[in-house]
Symmetry: C2
Subunit: 144 residues, 2 copies
Amino acid sequence: MANTQGASTRGDGGALRCLKQVGLRPTRQRLALAGLLFGDSHRHVTAEALHAEAVDAGVRVSLATIYNTLHQFVKVGLLDEVVVDPGKSYFDTNTTEHHHFYHEDIGRLEDIPGSSVVLGRLPDPPAGKRIASVDVVIRVTGDR
Amino acid sequence: MANTQGASTRGDGGALRCLKQVGLRPTRQRLALAGLLFGDSHRHVTAEALHAEAVDAGVRVSLATIYNTLHQFVKVGLLDEVVVDPGKSYFDTNTTEHHHFYHEDIGRLEDIPGSSVVLGRLPDPPAGKRIASVDVVIRVTGDR
DNA sequence: CAATACATTAGAATCGTTCTAATTACCGAC
DNA sequence: GTCGGTAATTAGAACGATTCTAATGTATTG
């Protein structure tokens, strides 16, 4: 039974190329996950959600692998991790500099168009430290 | 056995007044925790850390009560909760508007002097939503 | 295609946090 | 003060997200 599972019958050389470039072995699981994650538009996923989506799409992959893969993708710069909720991690396929709305009521993360947040002035980092990143999260909730 | 445990022999009317004002019963535990939290300078604590500190100071209090109390304090505006780490919550005694350095290497949170971060421009919230808060976290790490 | 290094896996373990049901403490009325 | 009712505290179990472990499977290299 060659080609065990979906995500391959199309021009998904994108996923392959992408993994090659960052030096990760193109395994069946990583190819499938890259296929799910790196489509036309940017995405925000949790580990559990991606796992559900993969299983749903007929991709056999364990939750452990989801975690491994997400963290590897972060390490090589394919993904960003966004911290907005103690106890859940979000992963963002948009790795360009930008910020987020977090919909507290429904637990959804949304990109803010780059230009509409302006950081006027940044403080010097504490002595002996360097700035790793600047995260801006605007928490929003239902109106009423 | 009156006055079971420390934190009372001094002019800690501060803690008492503070609880009265927000309408929380001044129990032994809440008084002790308020005493630990609201001193001269602002603090950033995790639940576990505060518990350790309390036990250390001879205050008999359970971890469950630490969590209950911290959340109540947040609800009445005595504390802010700061999200910087998936899987740990920090509580901040500084409830005025300000932002944070997060020392990723050692898991420490530090206030940024109010004036040294300037948000030049904020986006409109998504339709039907209102902005609950704007969090800026500058992640820093050891130099080398 | 064999050898080897790397990936994946199920399930157990861990972490921080929340829940539960039982006990204890505060507080106002007497 | 004592009593009673309500609210707070508690130990320990339960929980959800994540990480770990040791065994099995798979991509790569020669």
